[in-house]
């Protein structure tokens, strides 16, 4: 009876979730929110660009004093400036509104700041004073050096391309880190999206008093596995809905939305890190769902389950608090503990795998551990569901559930 019912369970569980209006409201709320934010960024991005251009080209009425002897008077004039004849009263005149702006260039700009005084034109337009003062220094310096290349070099306004090697082959940089990290992102999204649904899903049979009907019709393993698969499918649908606006935004409106210009073709999908990432993801997912099903089977209500659920979630995500250490000092004791402790292992190992600090042996141990604990958790969860979900209104006693015979 059991195995051929798996498809029926998956179809029922998946269909009834995606058929609900509530599901689509919750699912579409995030992309709609993202679209609104993107829209605002788009609008403000356009206006910022316009105002920056305006500020750049704007001729500002100002006077200046130059103790540094660096400022080129002709450039200053071109930008709207005049050399201040009476610097001592200039600030007072700005205060009184008789002078629009006054810049005081010190003798040593490495030690002292350029003092900028201006009439208030609102917080955004006031930025023009600083911009013009800096521009005046840069252009004057460039003029003095007499070489645009030297100016660029001094300003550090140039790019580098690095290449490292491992075992005689190019080892890649960020482009090799990003692909395996996608499994971490996927894991994070799946857990965030599905955790509550998984918990509620197994509690549902209990709260609806449908356990007896189910247990005499269906093998509990089939039910639990069916629920896990259907929830994974639901998560996939949600992920697609969430990522669609980001993909569309990246492809069609990248510049307007100020999205980073990644050259995706440069990404390197290396076989071993991708395989390890995928196995860590699957193992972590099995462990996590097994634990949640178990909690659902033991606890009588969603409210009761919440008290146990929170610590599990925290232990799952706690490696994010030491992410810097995971990346920079993977050999430290805390990182080692987090790598091999089942609940913290998925995220820690995925991070280390992406940054290349998870050795093959360690990866094999963590993967084996996750699969073993995952299947064990799932098996215990099915057992708890079988003998625990009949305890409709009370918490299951573990002693009784695991007694050889009741």
């Amino acid at each position: 009876m059991a195995r051929h019912n798996l498809g029926t369970v998956v179809q029922f569980e998946f269909t009834r979730t995606v058929k609900k209006r509530r599901f689509w409201i919750a699912t579409l709320a995030i992309p709609v929110l993202l679209a609104i934010v993107f829209g605002l960024v788009f609008a403000s991005g356009s206006s910022t660009q316009e105002s920056t251009e305006q500020q750049k080209n704007q001729s500002l009425d100002f006077s200046y004093s130059d103790a540094s002897k660096l400022i080129d008077p002709s450039i200053a004039t071109a930008l709207g400036g005049t050399l201040e004849a009476n610097p001592d009263t200039a600030v007072e005149r700005v205060k009184e509104g008789k002078l629009n702006a006054f810049f005081s260039f010190p003798a040593n700009m490495m030690k002292e700041p350029v003092l900028v005084y201006g009439t208030d034109h609102g917080i955004f337009k006031n930025g023009t004073y600083d911009a013009v003062a800096k521009q005046l220094v840069i252009l004057s310096a460039q003029e003095k050096v007499g070489s645009e290349e030297l100016t660029v070099a001094v300003q550090g306004d140039f790019s580098t391309e690095s290449q490292t090697f491992k075992d005689g082959r190019p080892s890649g940089g960020l482009e090799t880190v990003v692909p395996p990290l996608l499994f971490l992102v996927l894991f994070y999204v799946v857990i965030i999206l599905l955790a509550n649904q998984m918990l509620a899903s197994t509690l549902e049979e209990k709260e609806n008093r449908v356990t007896e009907m189910i247990l005499t019709t269906l093998d509990p393993t089939t039910l639990v596995v069916g629920k896990v698969i259907s929830l994974f499918m639901v998560g996939a649908v949600q992920s697609l809905v969430f990522t669609a606006p980001m993909v569309l935004g990246y492809v069609f409106f990248r510049d307007q939305l100020a999205m980073p210009d990644f050259d995706l073709s440069a990404l390197q999908f290396q076989f071993l890190p991708m395989l390890v990432g995928a196995l860590l993801f699957i193992g972590g997912f099995i462990l996590f769902t097994g634990v949640l099903v178990g909690i659902g089977a033991v606890m009588p209500t969603a409210k009761d389950a919440g008290t146990v659920f929170a610590p599990v979630m925290i232990s799952m995500f706690i490696p994010f608090y030491i992410v810097t250490m995971v990346v920079s000092d993977p050999g430290s004791m805390i990182v080692q503990i987090f790598t091999f402790f089942p609940f913290t292992a998925p995220i820690t190992a995925m991070l280390r795998n992406a940054f290349g600090s998870l050795g093959t042996v360690s990866a094999a141990i963590v993967i084996a551990e996750l699969f073993v604990f995952g299947f064990l958790a799932l098996r215990v969860a099915v057992h708890l569901f079988r003998y625990g979900s009949i305890e409709y209104s009370r918490k299951l006693s573990f002693r009784r559930a695991f007694a050889r015979k009741s």
Binding site: M1, N5, T8, F12, T211, L215, T217, L218, R400, S406
Partner: protein
């Protein structure tokens, strides 16, 4: 079978023949539901199995089983048709067969217009009908009904009885856990009475009645019943009583006693002891009273009606 250190079922063994209706009786807490759950693998017994045609019951028999549990419940947030189709498919029907059965059944129980309504939008009685439909939709060979009339109104009770009789006629075996003695007398071929996890009586209704001996006098009267060492009042209602009498006592002596005490006797029928009487003897007045309280009001109304009807026709 134990719950913690408490032994709840002990040395219980019984046979149910193919095609018979078997009554599983006992007071609250006597172990009826626990036994059924253990037989079906919902609880794990310390030892023992349910064997069907010599084969141990397992998952592969589920598609031929119809089980109506004491704790009723279905997926409340889903539509009636979706839930019925789901269970139909789990029980081995195709989607088309499950939907066809569901629509025919809904039509039969006057819920044809509710196929697409969520279960939690239905009344309690309507939900009971759906649960019953789910139980029988695979035309089960073995029907196990745990307190089948619990929470049923007279209309649903009638429906349930019709369905049981239909399944019997189709050759199905029915195992019924109940408190309702008149239903047992009407439907069951054989019974077992359970107390503290042990069988107190087992056999056909005649055999059980003979096992406990004695007779019951069904009395229609007016006046005040006198106390007597020769009988015990097993059932007492307005102008009606059932007196439990030892085999050794002559009924005419009881009648004489009543008349001399000024009781106006309108009906006097001697019969074998009723199951109600035997039930009270086994479980004691307190437990029996508790049982009666646990039974629903409709059930009690029905029992009174049946008793009066039977009484009247016996005169």
């Amino acid at each position: 079978m134990h719950f913690g250190s408490k032994k709840v079922i002990e040395g219980l063994s019984f046979d149910v023949a193919r095609g018979e209706t078997f009554g599983f009786l006992g007071s609250n807490g006597s172990g009826k539901t626990t036994t059924i759950r253990a037989l079906l693998g919902i609880y794990r017994p310390t030892s023992g199995t349910l064997e069907i045609n010599g084969k141990v019951f397992g998952d592969d028999f589920g598609s031929r089983l119809g089980y109506l549990p004491e704790e009723r419940g279905l997926y409340k947030k889903e539509s009636v048709l979706d839930v019925m189709t789901y269970f139909g498919r789990l029980k081995g029907l195709s989607k088309h067969e499950a939907q066809r059965f569901s629509r025919q059944y809904l039509d039969r129980v006057d819920l044809a217009g509710k196929a697409d309504v969520r279960l939690d939008k239905l009344s309690g009685g309507e939900q009971q009908k759906i649960q019953l439909g789910v139980t029988i939709m695979n035309e089960p060979e073995l029907l196990i009904l745990d307190e089948p009339t619990k929470g049923f109104d007279p209309v649903n009770r009638r429906l349930l009885m019709d369905i049981i009789e239909e399944r019997k006629a189709a050759g199905a075996t029915v195992l019924m856990v109940t408190h309702q003695m008149e239903e047992v007398e009407r439907l069951c071929d054989r019974i077992i009475l359970l107390k503290d996890g042990r069988a107190e009586a087992y056999g056909t209704i005649d055999e059980v009645q003979n096992q406990f001996g004695g007779r019951t006098i069904r009395l229609k009267y007016s006046g005040k019943l006198p106390e007597s060492p020769h009988y015990r009042v097993a059932v007492h209602e307005t102008n009606y009583a059932e007196l439990s009498v030892d085999e050794s006592i002559d009924e005419s002596q009881i009648l004489k006693e009543l008349v001399l005490a000024g009781v106006v006797v309108r009906g006097f029928t001697a019969a074998k002891r009723s199951l109600d009487d035997i039930f009270i003897q086994i479980y004691g007045e307190d437990e029996a009273a508790e049982n009666a309280t646990a039974s629903n009001i409709e059930g009690q109304v029905k029992r009174h009606g049946t008793a009066q009807l039977g009484h009247g026709s016996a005169i």
